[in-house]
């Protein structure tokens, strides 16, 4: 199933995605409500090379282009993007940040079998999925400049890592299941208190000069129902570790689950694999307690989709 990551709050992100199914744990710090300020972002783990070490040659040009695509996706990969998100919105620090599905956590783990599509995926194919789901767009063809540049960027960033070993800080943290089942009303309270300032009262995000500053969390300009961030566990893990931006690990686990539920109890563009009915689509792709697709919340069955202009 889809395990894509999402976009949340912050700003930049990218597409990539990341990890395939099953990210394992590596949960960071705190499962206890940390009272105040930010907890460890660091993992004592892998440190990607500094941006200044991108070589000044033809290969370096592709790496640099990959970074630009990552942070300004709608501009540099325009043909394949169908919403207002950037890769770096969910993959913070341009795909470098631990616990924010960093590219160096994903690159060494491919090729990999993914239950999402029942075959062995190359890294490039994994990137295609980001465009189809998280970016609600179209998959760039294999060999396309966009995929080449993104793969070059991820490869460069992963230099020195062992292949096939999930590094600490890869993916999003797996939070323990919440004490109380995630709840819309509690989630709304968290959203209004800690999220709406930047993401807007209706989750619409904020733009300046045609650039997304705070990403939309649902609706036509956000990720679609096929994206990994649609999963409550992915969203809760991302939120806990990284939101509010710069104050990660200050929400309680329960708050993170509740607000993830609230976010994902809103409509967004249809899953591009839609099988003709919500029920069939849920059965095929969303049959997990971590998906609200096909579930009735507040009297409405989710998964209707929204029209994309």
């Amino acid at each position: 199933m889809m395990r894509w990551r999402w976009i949340w709050l912050a700003a930049p992100l990218a597409l990539a995605a990341c990890h395939p199914a099953e990210q394992q744990g590596v949960s960071p710090a705190s499962h206890a409500p940390a009272a105040t300020s930010s907890a460890p972002h660091a993992t004592n783990g892998f440190e990607p090379p500094p941006e200044s070490s991108i070589p000044a040659d033809e290969f370096g040009k592709q790496i640099a282009l990959g970074r630009q695509i990552f942070t300004d996706t709608g501009h540099y990969a325009k043909a394949y993007v169908g919403n207002a998100l950037n890769c770096a919105n969910c993959h913070l620090d341009a795909g470098r940040l631990a616990h924010s599905a960093p590219m160096w956590g994903a690159y060494p783990m491919y090729p990999a079998y993914r239950s999402k599509n029942h075959h062995v995926n190359t890294f490039a194919e994994r990137l295609q999925g980001c465009f189809q789901y998280s970016m609600n767009g179209k998959a760039p063809p294999l060999g396309d400049d966009v995929l080449v540049a993104l793969e070059a960027y991820a490869y460069w960033m992963s230099k020195g890592e062992p292949i096939g070993v999930a590094p600490a800080g890869h993916g999003y943290p797996k939070l323990p299941r919440p004490t109380q089942a995630p709840d819309y009303v509690r989630g709304e309270t968290v959203f209004k208190r800690d999220c709406a300032l930047c993401h807007g009262d209706n989750g619409q995000g904020q733009r300046v000069a045609e650039r997304t500053v705070f990403p939309p969390l649902w609706g036509a300009q956000s990720f679609n129902w096929g994206a990994g961030m649609e999963r409550l566990d992915n969203a809760a893990g991302f939120i806990k570790a990284n939101m509010p931006l710069g104050r990660g690990n200050t929400l309680t686990d329960q708050d993170a689950w509740d607000v993830a539920y609230y976010m994902n109890a809103h409509e967004r563009p249809q899953d591009p694999r839609f099988k003709g009915s919500i029920a069939e689509t849920r059965k095929a792709y969303h049959d997990t307690p971590d998906s609200l697709y096909g579930i009735a919340v507040n009297g409405k069955v989710l998964g209707q989709g929204v029209a994309v202009p």
Binding site: P12, H41, D72, V208, R211, P244, L245, G246, R247
Partner: protein, 220 residues
């Protein structure tokens, strides 16, 4: 007769004065004060609302109305400590605060006086903090909230570009020291506490030298 005319004249003067207050003329408060002891804003913030950069009096022209209004409230209640602004804000009525905030938010952004460019090293440091942040310390980039080029975003994230360097530096220190604690979600207190004095000096000088409106190619 005469006394009646005088009485009528006196009345009309009084009425004019109260009309003035009622119409909440932000411009006249800015130019003349409010007639109840609050000095004209322009004495410090300049006739065009551009501020006085060297003295650390910030530009108000073109800032978000809701942001300006909130600052006046916060000065008055002490969540933002400033010995000059506290009595000013306290001396303005609710309606006068609204009027002044509305007035300045609608003023065009004046062309800033030329400022000294930061040194090459400082510029590099500031640009990196502004556009990349320093995530090894959990520090987001300034522009992740203040927008591309630091031009400001919505009601809560004011522009940094073209603002007085002295003012920006003073504010970052005020966040660090707790003299300013009116930030939503403690976002700025958290950020400021991850900055060194050298970081702060570099950021202030760099943003002061940036164009207040977005140029086509401001790199992500």
């Amino acid at each position: 007769m005469n006394s009646l005319r005088i009485a009528m004249l006196a009345c009309s003067v009084l009425m004019a004065k109260s009309v003035l207050a009622d119409t909440l003329d932000g411009a006249s408060i800015a130019r003349q004060g409010n007639g109840h002891g609050v000095a004209p804003c322009m004495a410090c913030h300049a006739a065009d609302g551009g501020g006085q950069a060297a003295a650390g009096f910030p530009r108000l022209a073109g800032l978000p109305q809701a942001y300006l209004r909130k600052q006046l409230d916060d000065f008055a209640r002490g969540a933002r400590v400033n010995v000059t602004m506290q009595p000013v804000a306290s001396g303005l009525s609710d309606a006068e605060r609204d009027a002044v905030a509305a007035y300045y938010s609608k003023l065009p952004v004046p062309k800033p006086a030329p400022v000294a460019e930061p040194s090459r090293n400082d510029a590099q440091l500031a640009r990196s903090l502004a556009t990349r942040g320093r995530w090894s310390d959990g520090l987001p980039a300034c522009e992740q909230c203040h927008g591309p080029g630091g031009v400001g975003v919505g009601d809560h994230f004011p522009p940094l570009a073209g603002q007085s360097a002295v003012y920006l530096v003073n504010q970052l220190h005020a966040w660090q020291q707790g003299a300013r604690r009116n930030d939503p979600l403690q976002l700025m207190q958290t950020v400021a506490n991850k900055l060194s004095d050298a970081d702060i000096a570099a950021i202030g000088a760099w943003y002061a030298a940036q164009p207040a409106t977005l140029t086509k190619e401001s790199q992500p």
